[in-house]
Amino acid sequence: MTERAAKQQKLAHPVPPANVIIQFQSPEGEATGPQLDVPHDVTPAQLETLLNGLLQAAERLPYSFFIEEQELAAELGAHLLKHKASVESVLRVVYQPQAVFKVRAVTRCTASMPGHAEAVLSVNFSPDGRQLASGSGDSTVRFWDLRTQTPKHTCKGHRSWVLVVAWSPDAAIVASGDHSGGIWLWDPATGKPLGQCKGHRKFITSVSWEPAHAELPSRRFCSGSKDATIKVWEASTRRCLFTMSNHTQAITQVKWGGDGLIYSAARDCSINVWAAADGRMVRSLKGHGHWVNTMSLSTGYALRTGSFDHTGSIPPDMDAAKAAAQQRYDTARDGRPERLVTGSDDFTLFLWEPSTQKQPLARMTGHMQLINQVTFSPNGRWVVSASFDKSVKLWDGIKGTFVATFRGHVGPVYQVAWSADSRLFVSGSKDSTLKVWDLRSKKLLMDLPGHADEVFSVDWSPDGESVASGGKDKVLKLWRR
């Protein structure tokens, strides 16, 4: 009887092998250091110490480890058992550097800031994370003080709903576009209008500034509108420098890339690549079967934040700022050309390398409803797509393969925003909740209810401290830890 019990126990709990032979591999594919014999219960933290020792880095950098595309979250032995990886051959462990600083998840709503008379349509933090601007259906742009969480300036001037609000990368000017086609420029410090850019005939869908490393102080920006044209404006004179009109239907998104190219996505199912210097069309990327709704660049975060980083330090002068912006851009690019991901009404996403080729790198299918927003993570390694099928999907940003689905929302997911260290992202949906998701565990981290109606816009501040959200209930909410 006891013999039988012992045998059963042995069969129920097979003893894993005591030691595993691993080989560290860099993300590019080259081996780092010799083969190592590690015990089966080694944790990622211990592997990190080992790797730091091998690389002989001056300071200890955090890494995340992947065995055959699966992230190592627990002990090595448990991971191998779960994923049934063979230990006969040498195990290749690919390491990827992570952001040095860690952003903590937001847990509670610290302030509900009413003030707008109509739904809040757009919420944007400044590139340095100190200021907050919001555009609303009551045709005003409001600036909010983050420390006291009260309204600072109310900017009146628009004739209809303010649809788009965009900060310049040096946080000196805010451009806002409205439903009747007018663009106003505001000074965030005083709240006074700098001028109006007239030219578009129909509503403005998107505004994008020239990156900081190309030009400081920020001078030019481009805007896309329903009248199927993209206009490049000069901020100081409010003059339209040139107009790019090749699209046949409404433009849904424009982005000013870091290589002197402007990308525009439109409802005529194509994405056009233009030269920013003269407005000549370089390439047209075709492939989508329906409206292209959204677009994101792999270097997008670096272009948006310019010379500011998560520490909040202000560079001393223009040249230092430009150099800092250039350095941030180069680390974001990582030696590869910029990648572009686009999401469309045909339920698919495409990954492109627009500066080199016309063919897409990958087609990402899987969503069951139209895709409302796609965003690259700040480190350019992941892509997250928010769709009307109530799910958020995570994709690999370099190859375009599917990684995970995040389910939890009960209504269409409208917008997603990444934290500055690429470890967390927050999603806002029609069901009036925001949800914070963890990248490593691929699970829901925090559920943030509180809004009374649909959440139209979310943004995570570049210093990682707070999340701002606004929606149909006319209230702007700030969430902190």
């Binding site: 109509e118 349509l121 439903h179 509503f203 403005i204 709704n293 959204t294 139209f456």
Partner: protein, 260 residues
């Protein structure tokens, strides 16, 4: 030449009176007064009906006049729509209003629960039991009265075997049994003679549905394979519901209209 065409033939040959156009014009002009005097003088039920018709005409006329006037009216320019602000990604997307969606789903659920369907004849005259059944006296002294004979048209399925005659309570006479119905397609306005597959629901009661009694307003299922209807998925439709529109026991045939 048929005898009703003499007038027309004369008109073709000799034309009309020389002052025909003027006469008709003047008659039309006078007709307004005539109508008005008729409306004022007619009494009783005729007067009421006339008044109702005129009221309807007046309403329609007022509406058309208002429509024409709108063209000349000056409207204030729409300066930024009030309410309903949506972000750029939701513009030009047909979003069904939440309240409407909810109320529609609730309404549908209620309808399904109540078993109410949209049929051409929503209400029919109820048929009483003594009209439906005739009591048959049986037994040696003709004293027992538990047997009933159905006096309306019934549908009996083809493979049906009856209970032993001594024990059957409801007798459905073969003279009143019918297999076919004259079914009209409401849009095509064409009538076909189609086989009945079964009686779905008799509005007078479930008991009558079970017996297969076909009265006015009964929903029957008919074999429409002749019509060659195909579903959007590509499958051939062979049975559809139809509602009976006449009193079959009076006419000797079942007339129905197809429920599309």
């Amino acid at each position: 030449m048929p005898q009703g065409e003499h007038i027309e033939l004369h008109r073709k040959r000799y034309g009309r009176q020389l002052d025909h156009e003027e006469r008709t014009r003047k008659k039309e002009a006078r007709s307004v007064k005539k109508r008005a005097s008729m409306a004022q003088r007619t009494l009783g039920i005729k007067g009421k009906m006339l008044a109702k018709e005129r009221a309807k005409e007046k309403a329609v006329m007022k509406k058309t006049i208002a429509m024409h006037e709108e063209r000349d009216k000056e409207k204030k320019a729409d300066d930024g729509q009030k309410g309903g602000a949506v972000p750029a990604y939701l513009l030009e997307r047909e979003q069904v209003e939440r309240a409407k969606v909810l109320s529609n789903t609730i309404k549908q659920k209620r309808k399904e629960k109540a078993g109410k369907w949209e049929v051409p004849l929503p209400k029919v005259r109820p048929v009483a039991e003594d009209e439906m059944f005739k009591v048959l006296r049986t037994g040696k002294r003709k004293k027992k009265e538990w047997k009933r004979m159905v006096t309306k048209v019934t549908f009996v399925p083809p493979g049906f075997t009856r209970k032993p005659p001594k024990y059957e309570r409801f007798i459905r006479p073969t003279g009143l049994r019918m297999n076919k119905a004259h079914v009209t397609h409401p849009e095509l306005k064409a009538t076909f003679q189609l086989e009945i597959l079964g009686v779905k629901k008799n509005p007078n009661g479930q008991a009558y549905t079970g017996l297969g009694v076909v009265t006015k307003g009964t929903i029957i299922e008919v074999n429409v394979s002749e019509l060659g209807l195909v579903t959007p998925g590509g499958k051939v439709v062979w049975g559809k519901y139809a509602q009976v529109t006449n009193n079959p026991e009076n006419d000797g045939c079942i007339n129905a209209v197809l429920l599309v």
